[in-house]
Assembly symmetry: C2
Homo-oligomer: 480 residues x 2
């Protein structure tokens, strides 16, 4: 396997293919999600969906094809998305009168329908989410992280006023933060995007940003306050309590299968995947070692442990194939299985069994007592989840720099890190609010604004580019 | 609302719109699934998915866009599907070199990938399912039943030999039958399709067929044995235990959102939807009646019942809006809520509460004791599920005719039923196996072959059309 430190991207592609998460297809930029890759998504989906429903949202499904004229209605939206749209122009042997876009996102179709569904303040709020496939025909693609077709959820809500809509925008960003931190063990910075990085058509965009092991950022989720922009474009008006027709305030928010890529790039190591127990298709792998074939009681004992773990709802597998133990260790490490139990004749005779956590160097010897083994494994799965988060957080802190104040210092920082073969990570810097300053930093260093964090470790006083007074404190970094 | 007996189709469209299950969209034949409609699908999905996983299947996701040359590889497949395909011809401002079809089903894309994934007998069986949107650009559409875009699951499996593949084909048909009968309370006939009604590219197609209240059939699920046809077209070969390269045997099987339409057409009545408790978004509706606003203890008691039902995992709502009780009764009946509880001052003073099951004429008086009410409601939900199945089955038996043996008798049967303003239902008849006979019956009567049931109520001796010896006993009926 490619070395992670030397060539992160090749390591990533190697890992996800060898771990059997995906495959390329003959359609440009479209991948197939194999069962292990898709199951990770199912676990993420399950957790997100539960939290959406707990907060009063319901799922719906809207058409995938969007008439061209819908895009014309919101000018920023069409500008943002039209370069990436695939178009259906013929169907059932006939040329269509109007081209139909494969949805890149559904604000327009949903806006059109909401204008019918929302007539009175009694109809509000509308809290709907959709799980769907979407299309953005991008030039450069990378499996899970940026593909022409991907899977996501898009929430679309409508509210009586700005206050409620802004509360919703923040509520969903907070849910994203909790799921990504608690469930995927990935620490994130939450904050507001700069205007140039806003969603096409939003008044304000907020994001959670995660740092990968190569120091690059992944925008792991976004939540948009759309104001009345889509309401005006699609005439989403309602009769308020004062008997006046006014525009609804809308929001939208989304997370996608790029979360799968993020998990891999945050936790993976030189041996391959490292999966948080919450999302691992297999949480515990049982492997017989040594000359176990001569000792049927070894498999019998592993079968008992298997049954006891399964009864606790743990996703467990037993690998009794003909391969050598070393081969199996490698294979299941590559697949990121959190906990391995090994049992051989000598251990059996000593009434013990070995446990190895995927992210720890040493094996632990346990007493060969089923109840005790199950209890220890359960604890280990919880502990490991927390430990992965802590490790990822320590890594991020180590590579989050707050001592860069000028463009010159940023250049110097990058050069120094490069010389030491270290990653540049992110820098927290001041920004005057001028698009040109942001653009200049990007042109010079490829560092883009990630977000303006709600809780920056420190407040910056001067703009990194022009040196004038800073209006915002911003995370800058290279990004996927 | 339109009368169900007089104009079934208008009744259906009226009902699903007023019950807020769907909405039309500006894209031809594409509907929006509103939350109540989509939740029905989520319940069906949940049950199906659980059973697929129990039988060793895993989910995956394949690209939606399929290169044109893939369709050319299996000649029956392209003939069957090409008249209905929508095509992407441009993307990101450029004309594509090859057109990409919006998948009508995924045998071709999956066949292409399986040929890479399957190399040895150790790789078999491959048991994969996909939940996805698919497209068939049909001329005549009807919400849920036949739409240009719909949601479905498609299972695609590969096996070492014919025996295993045929076992899988039957296993999945059996799961469909169990889910549709037990979970949707719809009795079905399981059997084999005639060659003319086979899936494009299948060796054998099996189906479950359900009778709607207008006597028409819905094919509620199909399972196909594909033999080595797709394996040959896409080169799915593996090294068997004898060290020979041989073709895998594949299957595919699917059910779709037309199940939502079937539930409505099987159980609905003049008052609107009647939903089996298993899939009802709201299972119990609590309604305060009479001058309840002067008596806060009424709402307090309903709140307690609400909490107690919710604690049991029952999907319950309390309607304390300003509308009249009569209005509410109608509205929640229209939405098909299985059980209604009504509480007014007089009942309260008499320590009683009224319960009404959606499908029964009379209200039942219950003692106003929370535990007792909860227990009775739980029982009623189970009983009603069974009762809906029994009613649907009685209806189907009443309209399944086994006394029609010739085309003349079929004409007579149809004429008689028409004269009495009754539905013609289905007839069980013999068939010689000749396509021309099947086609002639269809041309003359619009009765098509539904399937050749595994367990026909009786065996037919002569072909309904030509009078020669019957090779098969077949259900004939009009169909959606």
């Amino acid at each position: 396997m490619t070395n992670q430190k030397n060539d992160f991207t090749s390591w990533y592609i190697d890992t996800i293919q060898k771990a059997d998460l995906m495959d390329y297809t003959p359609v440009r930029g479209c991948i197939a999600f194999k069962p292990d890759g898709f199951e990770i998504w199912e676990h993420i989906q399950g957790e997100m969906d539960r939290r959406f429903k707990e907060t009063g949202h319901r799922n719906a499904y809207f058409p995938m094809l969007i008439p061209e004229n819908f895009f014309q209605k919101e000018k920023d939206h069409i500008e943002g998305f039209s370069p990436e749209l695939p178009w259906v122009t013929e169907a059932a042997g006939e040329k269509l009168e109007e081209r139909l876009a494969l949805r890149p996102t559904s604000e327009t179709m949903i806006g059109h329908l909401y204008s019918d569904w929302i007539k009175s303040y009694r109809d509000l709020p509308v809290l709907i989410n959709q799980w769907a496939n979407v299309f953005r025909w991008e030039k450069k693609t990378l499996p899970f992280i940026r593909t022409s077709e991907f899977l996501w959820q898009e929430g679309h809500t409508a509210h009586a006023d700005e206050t409620e809509a802004r509360e919703e925008t923040m509520r969903m960003l907070q849910i994203y933060k909790e799921v990504v931190e608690d469930f995927l063990a990935i620490p994130v910075y939450d904050g507001e995007k700069t205007p140039s990085e806003r969603f096409a058509g939003a008044v304000d965009t907020f994001s959670i940003e995660a740092m990968m092991k190569d120091g690059k950022a992944v925008q792991a989720g976004t939540s948009h306050y759309l104001g009345t922009k889509f309401a005006e474009a699609f005439d989403i008006k309602y009769l308020n309590k004062e008997n006046k027709h006014v525009y609804a305030h809308t929001t939208s928010w989304g997370t996608s299968t790029r979360l799968i890529g993020s998990v891999i790039m945050v936790h993976g190591d030189e041996q391959g995947l490292v999966l948080p127990p919450t999302i691992a298709p297999t949480q515990v792998i049982l492997i017989p070692v040594g000359p176990w074939k001569k000792r049927p009681e070894i498999i019998e004992k592993l079968d008992e442990i298997f049954a006891a773990l399964k009864a606790k709802g743990i996703r467990v597998r037993l690998d009794d194939s003909d391969q050598s133990p070393g081969y199996k260790f490698n294979e299941w490490e590559l697949k990121g299985v959190p906990v391995r139990l090994e049992l051989g004749p000598r251990d059996f005779d000593n009434a013990q069994i070995l446990m190895k956590a995927r992210d720890e160097a040493d094996k632990v010897t346990l007493e060969l007592d089923i109840d005790a083994v199950v209890a220890t494994v359960e604890t280990e799965l919880t502990t490991m989840q927390k430990r992965l988060y802590d490790k990822a957080k320590a890594f991020r802190e180590e590579h989050s720099h707050t001592d860069v104040d000028t463009l010159e210092q940023l250049h110097q920082h990058i050069t120094e890190k490069q010389a030491m073969e270290e990653i540049p990570g992110w820098v927290l810097a001041g920004w005057c609010g001028d698009d040109a300053c942001e653009e200049h930093v990007k042109q010079e260093t490829k560092f883009t604004t990630r977000n303006m964090p709600f809780n920056p470790p420190t407040e910056k006083k001067v703009c990194i580019n022009c040196g004038k007074e800073a209006k915002h404190t911003v995370w800058f970094g290279r990004a996927y």
